[in-house]
Amino acid sequence: MTGARGQALSWKVADGVVELALHREPCNEIGSQTLDELEKFISALEDSEGGAHALIIHSDVKSGFCAGADLRELYRRSQAISKEAAVKGVREYLGRIHRVMNAIDASPLTTIAAVHGVTFGGGLELALVCDLIIADKMARFCFPELRLGLIPGFGGIPRLKRDLGNAVVRDLLLTGRSFNTTKAQQIGMVSQVVGEGEALRAARATAAQLGKFDRATAAAAKKFIKPIPYEELQQEIDIFCELFTRPAVEEGLKRFVESTDAQPYLP
């Protein structure tokens, strides 16, 4: 793995650290283009894991780490086909994104999400697959899916439940409120909070430290303490697809897509 630059993301390797940078405006929304490129990245990552010890995922976009799934694309595509075909397409898309997320989650590399700004929905779920989250103090997190009549679909609930308490998951999921880094660190979701613009630097410093440890030991420790909740992840896909057939979802997506706000992230 040497590196590559796509339309939505790029990656490079230096000193045993793989850096995956998201760079799709306005806020790295994950649609088909990003998914295609993530799959290529995963394939390249798996081919070369022996030569690296850490992976950092970060964003080059000013507005934030990632605003989640590309809801405009989802709405546009689902409008052009039958309901049945739309649900089938969503299931396929979720299956693909879950394979990407599971691959990062289970990677023998130690993985770090360096986040800033908007880290919402699928963006938060992408951060949650990483072993460590290092956050710029202005980062903001949210599971906004319930306002669309859906649940998070990229594995967020099983992973948050694995890593934190069930009460915390209920609070964040059922209220859909956004929260800051103080709260995120308080609940144990974020491991380090750093000054504005410092997340990537701090992640690189952490990755350099990780390079001092024996890789086999670090990988064994990770495998021991971080099981992948495959059964619950599959249940999540099933529940998401069931909910997706309801009229409330179409209404929620329509409301979002037709919003005149340039950044309709707030509830």
Partner: protein, 82 residues
């Protein structure tokens, strides 16, 4: 430690908003619509919310701020959590 008054909270919000969005402090008044006066969108409003939470050491659920667009009401919401 003294008790933070509502006026004091309001003054601190106005000063913080002016500094963060690089607007002269004297141009901001309590009843201004901050979206219009500061010329900000919802993403920048989210930034302001984060700044205010850090400054006042409070948590402000965004659903409590739905429909709030003036500094005075914002101050009262923050005051209620101090």
């Amino acid at each position: 430690m003294g008790i933070t008054t509502s006026n004091q909270t309001l003054d601190e919000i106005l000063a913080l908003a002016a500094a963060h969005f690089k607007v002269p402090r004297e141009k901001l008044t309590a009843d201004d619509d901050f979206f219009k006066t500061l010329g900000i969108d919802s993403l920048q409003a989210l930034d302001l919310l984060t700044k205010l939470e850090h400054h006042f050491h409070v948590e402000l659920p965004d659903y409590e701020l739905q429909g709030v667009s003036d500094f005075r009401t914002l101050a009262s919401r923050i005051q209620a959590r101090l």
